[in-house]
């Protein structure tokens, strides 16, 4: 029913059994929350075999980041996926769900591993500015996992929109035969996007964190209710006011296709924000169409 595979060798043997089946892939670093589960659910509905990988990838953590203390909760993750499988009434179906949780870094990176896949044009902005090398680590590990998993579809949450765009472009550039499926952000009742890092927040920080989705909504509302040149002036004023507070790492409105400043011809923008609460950096985004006169 649910297989857990801890080595690459095991995984490859398992994967071969499904060479003729459709395969959906949900790459994660574990510590699953409702966001991850919504990806797994979508994959289960659309593929014969769903593979959820759980691998805390050292290459995407920068010096000083939380690699060591990143929560590793394989037991709970497995339980949540089993419960999802059951609640989707798949126990007696032909559908399969497998967890690929490499037991060691060496299962993914052989000794002397030295290849880096990078997309500098999309990486050197937003999160990439404060996290040098982060997205190189992401694209490199995702490629490695793609090589092993050989999925037909891969599911990425839009909370990490920049990451989604980088992987989408990598797939296109490298002609990987994979369909990337972006999935909407899952939010808690108070509108805070689910994130494995939310658990680091103190009670107070959790309240302060709500400024992130609230501000994005305010800007979204400005763009929705004003034609563009007016919207831009109003929005810039709000952004500048917000950025005076050093908690904000960035707050930007960018063309959704290339993460450049909106230009004539830009129809949809993303409002991207990153807020630092104590040692915890949260990110979020909301999408909105520009109204031209």
């Amino acid at each position: 029913m649910i297989e857990i595979l801890r080595t690459t060798k095991q995984f490859e043997i398992f994967r071969k059994i499904y060479d003729e089946k459709s395969v959906g892939f949900v790459p994660t670093m574990g510590n699953l929350h409702k966001g991850h589960l919504s990806l797994a659910k979508e994959s289960l509905r659309n593929n014969d075999l769903t593979i959820v990988s759980i691998f805390v990838n050292p290459k995407q953590f920068c010096p000083g980041e939380d690699y060591e203390k990143y929560p590793r909760t394989l037991g709970e993750d497995t339980a949540q996926l089993k419960e999802l499988f059951r609640s989707e009434n798949l126990m007696n179906s032909e559908k399969r769900l497998a967890i690929f949780a490499p037991e060691s870094i060496l299962e993914i990176y052989s000794p002397g591993f030295s290849t880096v896949i990078s997309l500098p044009m999309l990486s050197n902005k937003l999160c990439g500015l404060n996290r040098p090398g982060h997205f190189d680590g992401v694209s490199t590990v995702v490629f490695s996992l793609f090589s092993l998993v050989r999925p037909h579809k891969a599911y990425f949450g839009q909370k990490d929109y920049q990451q989604y765009l980088i992987i989408k472009k990598m797939i296109e550039d490298l002609r990987l035969n994979i369909q990337i499926v972006p999935m909407p952000i899952k939010r808690d009742n108070d509108d805070l996007a689910y994130s494995s890092r939310n658990q680091y927040l103190s009670k107070e920080e959790r309240i302060d964190a709500l400024e992130l989705p609230r501000t994005l909504s305010e800007i979204k509302n400005i763009i929705k209710t004003n034609i563009w040149p007016v919207a831009k002036v109003k929005m810039d004023a709000l952004v500048n006011e917000k950025l005076a507070n050093k908690k904000w790492e960035y707050l930007k409105v960018l063309d959704l296709v290339n993460l450049e400043e909106p230009q004539e011809g830009t129809y949809t923008v993303g409002i991207f924000g990153s807020l630092k609460l104590g040692n915890t950096r949260l990110i979020d985004n909301k999408l909105v169409e520009i109204k031209y006169a």
Copy 2:
């Protein structure tokens, strides 16, 4: 018999016909010489279908290099490959030879292409020092071509030993299911390695160029006829003497496996040299086993 494919679309349709056949691949920038032909010959012997790509890859030229004036000789290249095919008595065989010569850069790099594959540890030395970005351009284009060509075997000449090693490591790291076949350097009667750049040499430069293989042979001889600590002292003296002449861009003896300085446990070294004659940079190498006491 010999197909010439000028677009990616054409190529992909053609390639599908051979999905069940063994495919050998010889990536080149054209202007074929005996070195290239020896790779194609080896591929023809060992595969049902051999694909020679001819693509002058802008990404591997650095600013100020000879991208514009790099010789483009598709007619002659085709004639040479046809002659090879004929002389190997393959005209009435099942073997096939195809030339993939993209008619535009856009056939390989779609607009907005932004992925870079790099192997900094192997690239930041020897030729990489004077040619920033060169090897990133090589690994990126070779990956792209691999994606299209889907070869079982890929043939690389050992004149570009560093390039061979980078591609070998990329294949390993990224789990590409391709066997890389290194092929020995082809040399002219005077021991100069064949290179498309030899034609740039004046008559005098061509004579001066012989210092390259001659010096490598001298060092090879020192290493062959002395036990290692002694060989190293003698060899270092000769290297320092040579490097006093600014024509030498580098002259180094390195472990063949990782291009690091030889250490205890290094059995085979490469003697790598790069000599600049006017505006033309030539490279060459010779391999030799270290003798320990």
